[in-house]
């Protein structure tokens, strides 16, 4: 049965990743403002640019920026590996620099709409440029669609490995809820919680996609602003994402 073999293969690879992540010995690297979908569209390729910038009256937060460029291809309906070719980071009051690379995997465990909610798993390894500890991230990706509404929840655990790594596991969670007014206009809200950093943020987002005529490609965008809910969170985090998906 196709369902079993797909699930077994995905579970095996995912379990291996989880064992490595939690068997070895982390502080969170740059915040990552995205709520992943567990959905994998077999055969689809992606080129993606996403980033964020912080504006805050406080100098220890103001001017922080980060951006990432990645490529991905879904080889099957249950596995999408993504390669982050460049990761840029600028800390407040400092110059910007390229910080590393990342190999990220999305595993789709269940067919969209087949169960009460759709389940997947994120497993990634981030490799720093110029030495230092690497970073593993693992966690379930949950999505539920009800008509035009779409809800996503991510629970991500993060651990550093290699020389000089801290033995602490950090946890973060995120939620995205959108309503599809049209294909090109899906307004909604996103919320992020990082208990280890005492940072809680939420705010409005808009996402959407356009088909590129006479091609098998779509341009997808997402923009938003996250407001700090508590004092230890940055006041305004501006997020943006641009993606070209093609077949």
């Amino acid at each position: 049965m196709r369902f079993i073999s797909r699930t077994t293969a995905a579970t095996t690879v995912a379990t291996l990743f989880a064992v490595v992540a939690f068997g070895v010995a982390g502080r969170a690297h740059a915040d990552d403002f995205i709520v992943y979908s567990p959905h994998v569209i077999a055969g689809q390729s992606e080129i993606e640019l996403r980033g964020y910038g912080i504006t805050d009256g406080r100098s220890e937060y103001d001017g922080e920026r980060a951006a990432e460029l990645s490529v991905a291809h879904a080889f099957t309906g249950w596995w999408k590996p993504e390669l982050y070719l460049a990761e840029y980071e600028k800390e407040p009051g400092a110059g910007g620099k390229l910080v590393g690379y990342e190999f990220e995997n999305t595993f789709q465990f269940t067919e969209p709409g087949e169960y009460w909610a759709d389940l997947g798993l994120l497993a990634s390894y981030g490799h720093p440029k110029g030495g230092g500890p690497g970073e593993l991230e693992v966690g379930p990706l949950i999505e539920k669609t009800v008509g035009r509404f779409d809800h996503r929840v991510n629970l991500i655990w993060e651990r550093h490995i290699g020389a000089g790594a801290e033995s602490k596991t950090e946890f973060r969670y995120s939620y995205a809820g959108t309503y599809a007014v049209s294909k090109a206009f899906r307004p909604g809200i996103e919320a992020y919680g990082r208990p280890d950093d005492h940072a809680y943020q939420a705010g409005p987002v808009v996402a959407g996609e356009w088909h590129v005529p006479h091609t098998m490609g779509n341009v997808e965008y997402r923009v938003g602003v996250l407001l700090g809910i508590n004092a230890a969170a940055p006041r305004h985090t501006w997020v943006a994402q641009l993606e070209y998906e093609f077949f």
């Binding site: 699930t7 989880a18 939690f22 959905h39 569209i41 077999a42 055969g43 689809q44 465990f109 269940t110 067919e111 969209p112 709409g113 087949e114 169960y115 009460w116 909610a117 389940l119 966690g139 379930p140 949950i142 669609t145 008509g147 035009r148 509404f149 779409d150 629970l155 655990w157 946890f171 599809a180 049209s182 294909k183 088909h211 098998m216 779509n218 077949f247």
Partner: protein, 108 residues
């Protein structure tokens, strides 16, 4: 680790909540058009759409109104779970041939 246990429970719960005997409906894509262009399905229950692409080029089955997106390779078949939906008319289309590949789910 209790967090891992939580992840495991989520996994199991998802698999436990398996769909039972979902009614099946068929759609075909031919000459970049859906056949039938209007498909009647029951309201208030999950349905399974079996979509066959008879063309030599890929198509993407897509709907904004019931939030689905999936590629159908040439001469192959996919399964898409939809609903439960309230009675009404829900548009779907073929993302790669939007001029001709248009259809509706008539939910009643």
């Amino acid at each position: 680790m209790n967090r891992l246990a939580l992840a495991a429970v989520l996994l199991l719960w998802s698999f436990a909540a398996r769909a039972t005997d979902v009614p099946e409906f068929h759609l075909a894509i031919q000459d970049h058009a859906y056949q039938p262009a209007e498909l009647k399905v029951p309201a208030g229950t999950k349905v399974k759409l079996v979509i066959e692409n008879r063309d030599a080029s890929p198509e993407e089955f897509e709907s904004t109104e019931f939030n689905r997106e999936k590629i159908v390779l040439p001469n192959s078949t996919i399964t898409v779970y939809v609903g439960p939906l309230k009675p009404g008319s829900y548009r779907f289309f073929g993302d790669f041939h939007q001029d001709t590949a248009q259809g509706r789910l008539i939910v009643e």
